[in-house]
C-alpha cells in the first residue's frame, strides 16, 4: 500500500482537496443508503400493510411516527433523486457533504462519485462498520487487525475495486448493550485512525453510560479523541453532564436531526426525543457559553426518504435556509455561525499526521 501524506488535506470521492476549500459543510449526511438494519417486522396485519406501502403524501403521518417501520422509507437508492436533492444544498451556498454510510448502510462509492461529478460538491465517503444488526456474517471471524486493514485500504487505495477512497472512518455503529463485534470494530477503527490520521465518527449507544464507556474504549485504544465526533447527542437526549464529559475528553459533539420531522417514538425500549431545531440551538448556545464552541458540529443526518424534499421533507438545504437565519435571531454571532458551519468541520475533516 502506497501511503500519500494526507495531513492537512481532506479526501473526497474525487480526490484530495485543501481543507480551506470546504466552505459550508454538513458533517453527517446520507445520500445513497439503506437503513433497513433498523426495520422491525410488525406483528399486526394493518401495520404490515403500512410497512409495505410506498412513501406518499397520504402516509407520511404514519411514517413519521413509525420510522424505521416502512421499508420504502428506509431506502435512499435513486442517484437522480440524490443529485436533485444535493443541488438544493449547493444552490443555497453549501459546498461539502460528509456522506457517512459505512458498511451495513449499503455504501455506494461509485454512486457517490457520480453525485459529486454531477453536483460539483465535495463529497467525503465513510468507511468501517455500522451497528451490529447490520454487520456482515464474516465479521465474526475477522480479527481486529483484519478489520483495521480493510478500513486503511478503503482510505489509501479505495473501496473494493472502485478506486473511490474514503475520507472518514464512520459512522461506526454501537448498540445498547454494546456488542462484542462492535467493541472489536471500535478498537479496529482506532488502529486505522492511528495509521491514517483520518477523522473518526461514532454513532453511540442510546444510553449515557454506555456512550461514556465507548469514549473510554476509544481512549484506551489510543484514539485521537480530539479528532473524533460522538453523534446524535441531541436525539439520544444525553444529559448535560454527559455532553460535558464527552467534550472534556476532547471529542466533538454531533448535533444532527435539524429539520427532522420524525415524531418522538420508542426505540430500543427508550423514547427517541426528536425535539425541534430551536431546542437544539438553545442547547448549543448553552455549550458555547461554557466554552465548547469548538466542539460543535451540526447536520441533518438525512437517512430516510421522508427527509427529502421530493417526499415532503426539509432536505439538505434546511440548515442554510431555515436554521442559520434563526441562529442570528437567537443572537449567535457571525463568528460563531462560521465556526459551526465552516471552521469546525474543516478542522475535523482534515487528516492529521498518522501516529502509527
Amino acid at each position: 500500500m502506497k501511503q500519500t501524506d494526507l495531513a492537512g488535506k481532506v479526501q473526497t470521492v474525487l480526490g484530495e482537496v485543501d481543507a480551506d476549500s470546504l466552505g459550508i459543510t454538513l458533517f453527517h449526511e446520507h445520500l445513497l443508503a439503506s437503513m433497513s438494519a433498523w426495520y422491525e417486522e410488525p406483528a399486526e396485519a394493518g401495520e404490515k400493510g403500512m410497512a409495505r406501502q410506498p412513501v406518499s403524501t397520504e402516509n407520511l403521518w404514519w411514517i413519521r411516527a413509525h420510522r424505521p417501520g416502512n421499508l420504502d422509507n428506509c431506502q435512499l437508492a435513486d442517484e437522480q433523486t440524490a443529485i436533485k436533492e444535493a443541488m438544493q444544498f449547493k444552490v443555497n451556498g453549501g459546498s461539502t457533504i460528509a456522506e457517512v454510510s459505512s458498511i451495513g448502510l449499503a455504501r455506494d462509492p461509485l454512486g457517490l462519485k457520480h453525485i459529486a461529478l454531477a453536483t460539483g460538491l465535495n463529497i467525503i465517503m465513510g468507511s468501517g462498520y455500522y451497528i451490529g444488526a447490520s454487520h456482515p456474517p464474516e465479521l465474526n471471524t475477522m480479527t481486529e487487525d483484519e478489520i483495521a486493514d480493510g478500513i486503511i485500504r478503503n482510505i489509501m487505495v479505495g473501496a473494493g475495486d472502485t478506486g473511490v477512497k474514503a475520507g472518514i472512518i464512520g459512522e461506526i455503529g454501537c448498540s445498547r448493550p454494546l456488542q462484542e463485534g462492535e467493541r472489536k470494530v471500535l478498537r479496529a477503527s482506532v488502529k486505522a485512525q492511528r495509521q491514517t490520521g483520518a477523522p473518526l465518527m461514532i454513532h453511540p449507544a442510546f444510553d449515557d453510560n454506555i456512550t461514556l464507556e465507548i469514549v473510554d474504549i476509544l481512549g484506551e485504544a489510543g484514539a485521537d479523541l480530539g479528532h473524533t465526533v460522538i453523534c446524535h447527542v441531541n436525539v439520544y437526549a444525553f444529559k448535560p453532564e454527559t455532553l460535558r464529559k464527552i467534550a472534556d475528553a476532547g471529542c466533538y459533539l454531533g448535533y444532527e436531526g435539524f429539520g427532522n420531522l420524525g415524531y418522538p417514538h420508542m426505540l430500543q425500549g427508550r423514547l427517541l426525543e426528536h425535539r425541534c431545531d430551536l431546542d437544539y440551538l438553545d442547547a448549543i448556545a448553552g455549550l458555547i457559553a461554557d466554552g465548547y464552541l469548538d466542539h460543535i458540529l451540526i447536520a441533518h443526518d438525512i437517512c430516510f426518504k421522508d427527509f427529502l424534499t421530493v417526499y415532503g421533507g426539509n432536505g439538505y438545504a434546511h440548515i442554510i435556509r431555515n436554521v442559520m437565519p434563526v441562529m442570528r435571531v437567537r443572537e449567535f454571532s457571525e463568528e460563531q455561525i462560521q465556526a459551526i458551519m465552516v471552521e469546525n468541520p474543516k478542522r475535523y475533516l482534515q487528516f492529521m499526521r498518522p501516529i502509527g
Binding site: L278, V310, V326
Partner: protein, 356 residues
C-alpha cells in the same frame, strides 16, 4: 329570542348535549377555513410562483418554512377532505372538536353540521371576531352592544338563518398592539358571556405584557375569567412566569400547537411555534406541580393545509396517537392525561348559568 337553559350542557352544531358525552376533546381546531386574508404577497418572482402553487409533496419544505406565503396552504374548504381528516381523530378515540373559525376565518355553520353528521363527532362552533385585520368594513360603526347582541344571537338562535348555534365565544382575536375595535370586541364578549354563560377563547396579543392586559380588559368588562381560555400560550413565545400569571388571574391556559414545532416562522417579530412537544409537556408538568392540573387545555390548532395528514402533516389524531404514549413515557399519570383531554375541556365547555 327563545332561551333554553344551557346550564351544565355543551352546545354542538347538532344541538345541546350532556358534558359527559364529550369524551376526548381537542379544545381549539379549524376544520374548514379560509385564512387567505392573511396571505403575504412576496416580493421576489420565485416566491410569487411558489405563492400560487397548490400544496404538494414537492413544495412542502418551502411552505412549512413560511406558511403564510402560499395561498392554497391557507385555505381548506373541501368538506370531504375535512371528513377524511376528522376520521383519523375519531378512529384514534376522539369525541369532540372545538372549531374556532368564526367571523374572519370563513366560518361555515352548515358545513360543520354536515361534517358532524358524517363523522359522528361532536363539533362545537365559535362566535365573535378574530383579529382586526379580518374585521368587516362596518366594524367602526358597531357598538359594544351590537356585537354582544350578535354573539348572543349566535348562541341562542343560531348563525343568521342556518339554525346552527355556537357553543363558545371565540377565538377572539387580539393584535399587537391591540386595536380599538379589538378592545370593543373584548368588552362585547364579556357582556355576551354574562348573558349566556358561554365559555370564551382568546387569541391573545403576541407580547407578554400586552397579553396580560388583554385579560385585564376582559376582567374590567365583567368577564368570568374562570371561563376564559387563553390560546397559544405555547406558540407565542411567552415565558413560563407569564403563563403562571395567566393562571393566577383565573384563566385557563391552552397549549394548542402540538405537532407544530416542525415549522417555526417569524410572526410580528417573534419566532412562532418555538416550543417542541417535549418542551410543552415538561412545561405542563411544572404547572401541574404548581397545582394547576385543572386549568390546562390541549389542542393542535391546525390552520394550514400542511398540518393535515392528506398533505403530509401529522393530522388531527396527533395528540391521541403520538402524544399520549409520550406523555406516559415522560411520567404523566392516566388521571392527569384524562384531566387534560376529557375533564378540563368538559368543565370549560359546559355552560354556566346566565347572569343577566
Amino acid at each position: 329570542m327563545q332561551r333554553t337553559d344551557l346550564t351544565g350542557k355543551a352546545q354542538t352544531v347538532l344541538g345541546v348535549i350532556d358534558g359527559e358525552c364529550l369524551g376526548i376533546t381537542s379544545s381549539h381546531e379549524h376544520i374548514i377555513w379560509d385564512m387567505s386574508a392573511y396571505f403575504e404577497e412576496p416580493e421576489s418572482t420565485s416566491e410569487k410562483e411558489l405563492a400560487r402553487q397548490p400544496v404538494s409533496m414537492e413544495n412542502l419544505h418551502l411552505i412549512r418554512a413560511r406558511p403564510h406565503i402560499n395561498i392554497d396552504n391557507m385555505v381548506q374548504t373541501d368538506e370531504q377532505t375535512a371528513i377524511n381528516e376528522l376520521m383519523h381523530f375519531k378512529y384514534a378515540g376522539g369525541g369532540t372538536l372545538v372549531e374556532l373559525s368564526q367571523n374572519g376565518l370563513a366560518r361555515d355553520p352548515l358545513a360543520l353540521a354536515r361534517i358532524a353528521r358524517a363523522t359522528g363527532l361532536n363539533i362545537i362552533m365559535g362566535s365573535g371576531y378574530y383579529v382586526g385585520l379580518s374585521h368587516p368594513e362596518d366594524m367602526d360603526d358597531k357598538t359594544e352592544k351590537d356585537i354582544a347582541d350578535e354573539i348572543v344571537r349566535d348562541i341562542t338562535a343560531g348563525v343568521s338563518d342556518t339554525g346552527v348555534r355556537s357553543g363558545i365565544i371565540g377565538e377572539i382575536g387580539c393584535s399587537l398592539p391591540l386595536t380599538d375595535n379589538e378592545r370593543k370586541v373584548l368588552h362585547a364578549c364579556a357582556i355576551a358571556q354574562r348573558r349566556t354563560g358561554a365559555p370564551i377563547n382568546i387569541h391573545p396579543s403576541i407580547d407578554d405584557d400586552v397579553m396580560l392586559e388583554n385579560i385585564t380588559i376582559l376582567k374590567d368588562a365583567g368577564a368570568d375569567l374562570k371561563r376564559v381560555a387563553i390560546s397559544h400560550v405555547d406558540g407565542f413565545g411567552y415565558s413560563l412566569s407569564t403563563r403562571l400569571k395567566v393562571l393566577e388571574s383565573g384563566c385557563l391556559v391552552e397549549y394548542d400547537g402540538f405537532g407544530q414545532a416542525i415549522f417555526h416562522f417569524f410572526y410580528m417579530g417573534r419566532i412562532a411555534n418555538a416550543m417542541s412537544d417535549i418542551q410543552k409537556i415538561t412545561d405542563i408538568m411544572e404547572l401541574i406541580d404548581e397545582g394547576y392540573l385543572d386549568r390546562i387545555l390541549l389542542a393542535q390548532d391546525f390552520c394550514f393545509k400542511c398540518c393535515l395528514a392528506t398533505y403530509g402533516g401529522y393530522g388531527y389524531a396527533h395528540i391521541i396517537r403520538n402524544l399520549i404514549p409520550f406523555m406516559k413515557a415522560k411520567g404523566m399519570t392516566e388521571e392527569q392525561i384524562h384531566a387534560l383531554l376529557v375533564d378540563n375541556p368538559r368543565r370549560f365547555l359546559e355552560f354556566a348559568p346566565a347572569e343577566d
